[in-house]
Amino acid sequence: MKFKISSFIKAILGTAAIITITIPNIAIAAENSTNEQITFVRLTSEQHRNSIRDIFGESIIVDGDAGSVGVREEGLMAVGGRRLTLSASEVESYEVLALDIASQVLDPARRATLLTCLPEDASKVDDTCASEFIDRVGLHLFRRPLSNDEIDAYAAMAKTAAQNLGSFYSGLQAALVGMMVSPDFLFRIERSVPNPELPGTRRLDAWSRASRLSFFLWNTTPNPTLLEAARSGDLMFEAGLNRQIETMMLSPRIEDGLRAFFSDMLAFDRFKTLDIDSNLFPKFTKNVEDEAREQTLRTISHHLLNKEADYRELLNSRETFLTPALAALYSVPIPIHQELGGRVPWVPYEYSEDHMRIGLLGQATFLSLFSHPGASSPTLRGKAVREHLLCQTIPPPPGDVDFSLVRNADHPDFKTVRDRLAQHRDNPTCAGCHMLMDPIGLALEIFDASGVYRTTENGVEIDTGGEWVGQEYTDIRELAVLLKNDPTLTSCLVQRAYNYGTAREPTRAEVQWLNTMHLQLREEGVRWRELIKRISSNPDFYTVPEIVSTED
């Protein structure tokens, strides 16, 4: 190992300052490096944040989101994560974040708890101690052990920095920054080898298994127990794997995993650009928006985890949680026990039987995310139900279509959006798709773009009736029951959960057992814990399809 450090004098003269760290060729420990193949998925901002929290502790502040929202593919941002890379401005942000995190981690107050050795002289290089630190922290950051060459490489960074900046700890910071901007940390790198049991497929190595499992169930980096199970090889065997899954199921972190999944499936990325016009909908303040999002997650989490209830019932459940501002938005009374200036209280609330605001579709989250800034949209809401809850695809509208009528609210003959959409559907090119979307959305027209309940539009009573696969409904309560009983609702959940965990679409063979499992669950009850348990204990979950186009 050698260092080529240009002199400071040269730098000061105004030519480019260069410090070069020459590192040896890195060979990564793997089961079988000749047949090894790598795929990778970008960490989400939340996974990045959770990883830092779990590796270095709650007190480390991750000040900012470095990664952009991402792209949705096959209905999920998680699947899109397999297509994403990092732009220069994102890497730039991650580097700045890494500097900040590293300086917090190696703050004199924290050092003692994180270091297992101390340098002889804090102003000098100490390769042994630095290597020990890199070895230990690297395991968690890269979710696998570092090879000796890698340890040497990062120790070289530490050494260069320590020499230039005159501090052992600055050296460790440098190595830490290096690890935190490396692809091994910012991406979930999945290493696979040919699967001897199922030719034509590849199976993940134990470390990649641990990551896939941990990000699926907990939305964070594998914890020490799980890494240990990877190291010991336990994860490669059914019994060992199931033991880990059982343990993980018992942790409250399972809620983090559930929240991350539903935030993805229900398109919460739209919150980033949600722009309901508060001039027209003054109750929909920024606080209400944030609380609506939390209401949905709280409701789902309580229903699926605390009550262990059936997913289908989320469609017509009357139980939810409200804050004072949400209760005002929904115009329902809640008992208030809020200290002045105290935290916003969350109050469990159950709607009465005759109340229209039931289930996920009656919540401000869904209603506002799929509205225009200034008006509700039956088409957007209907499309969202089809695409996000039922995994169906609606093609984009054709060109050269005149929509003038649809939102001319001043039209003397067509006072409600139902009338206007009906006219629009007279155009045969539009009718096909609109017939799929509009009826669902029209049942939700009793809620405006901000989720406020209403009974009329332009003075005319809103008709919420329609037909779902041959069955008529008169309002959202009946529609919710029809949707709840539709097998597509649950098959979509199963499919999305699997795709989310693997960040890919299932193969044909996988679709078969997913279908079988779906039918079983419909019989037994579609319960979240059971679903993720079955997915994560299936060997297919830890495979990647063979890609033939690998280049050497």
């Binding site: 792209v71 890379t85 401005s89 900046l165 050269d400 939102r407 001319n408």
Partner: protein
Amino acid sequence: MINKNRKFNRRSLLRGAIHGSAVVMGLPVLESFLNENGTAFADGSELPPCFGSWFFGLGLTPGRWKPEITGSGYELPDHIGTLNPIKDKLNVFSGLQVFLDGKVNQNHISGAQGQMTGIVTKSAADYDESFDAIIDKQFGANVRFRTIEVACDGNASSGWTARGKNGKTPCQISPLELYRRIYGEGFTDPNKAEFTPDPKVMVRQSILSAVTEQRQQLLNSVSVEDRSRLDEYFTSLRDVERKLAFELERPAPLPACSIPNIENSEIGTMVAQVQSTHKQFSTLLAHALACGQTRIFHVTLGNAFSTLRLPGEPSAYHALTHEEPIDPGLGYQPKCKVLGEQCMGFFLDLLMAMDGIQEGEGTLLDRSIVYAFTDHGEARLHSMKNLPVFTAGSGGGRIKTGLHVNAEGDAATRVGFTLQKALGVISDRWGSESNEVTTPFNEILI
């Protein structure tokens, strides 16, 4: 004014040096001084050209923006009359279209995609390298930021640029954040005499450089698709490394460089909010160019389905293009026309910000080319014909200005191809299928 001040500073620094006053660094070598006019470096090399792309959604009111006369000496119709102050530095292109070649019209996407990447894809998720990235490679510029992308509607994914096939480049949405990025840590005023490279930055640069060395190892075991993603990540890493390297070098003095003031404005989609955000970005970008921080930028007013909104109006601009009836008396959609004119006003704001920076006898705009494009010729019908396109600035005398070019139905990619040529890209074609072009608009090339 700025010029004079800077010159004075330089002289006073020289005096200071002669009198042996405490100047931390040696004075910059005289060779790197600008010539007397400030239009070029003293060794005769001129200030390099800059390139910007500027997107406005939903086009303009059909039939109301095309100048009557082709070539020079035309009058700007009322609809785009707001651009009059900059008319002599402007080119107007009419009669351009994007061809779909039988693919689905990805409304509000295909048009802009075709013009920026030369390719119309089946799925909106497939987005190829945009031509500003080609220009960037040609520039190979020694700047802190290879490119800067901004969106004025608070939506980071509103932009139209991409480095490769791995998704569009996210935009910055907050002027304040951009200000911090440019003028925060790592910024060196090119006109300041003192310069001390920061050893911490040297270390940071060395870290990134070492991480980049892992590239080959990872690339050995990835598929072709993943390889391109990984390559793009490593390119990003190298960009940041170069940014740090740039911070370690003494910058050549740029008399026109100054640090702007900006205010923290509310980000949103109301016309006034977008206008204010755009104005702040215009100021920042113009100053960043003048200070040699970047040479390529992209501004998008909003996403493909423009969410620009008038106060109290329930429908956003996009919805209005479809919903607002054509006024039988006027023959157009009145609110849409107003919004289109607002967009032209925003464009003028950017151009004025650039033209307001005097560099010797010319202005920053004069050595730049700004390319303004849109998604539809008639947004009401998602039409891909008669797209309004503008360029402003001559790229330091690389293209002619003050011309109206009537393309008479040609592929809109001809404009992008012409600009690539003007800025030195060597290639004989650009685009694919019917959007492939081989002939630039020679009437504007110099």
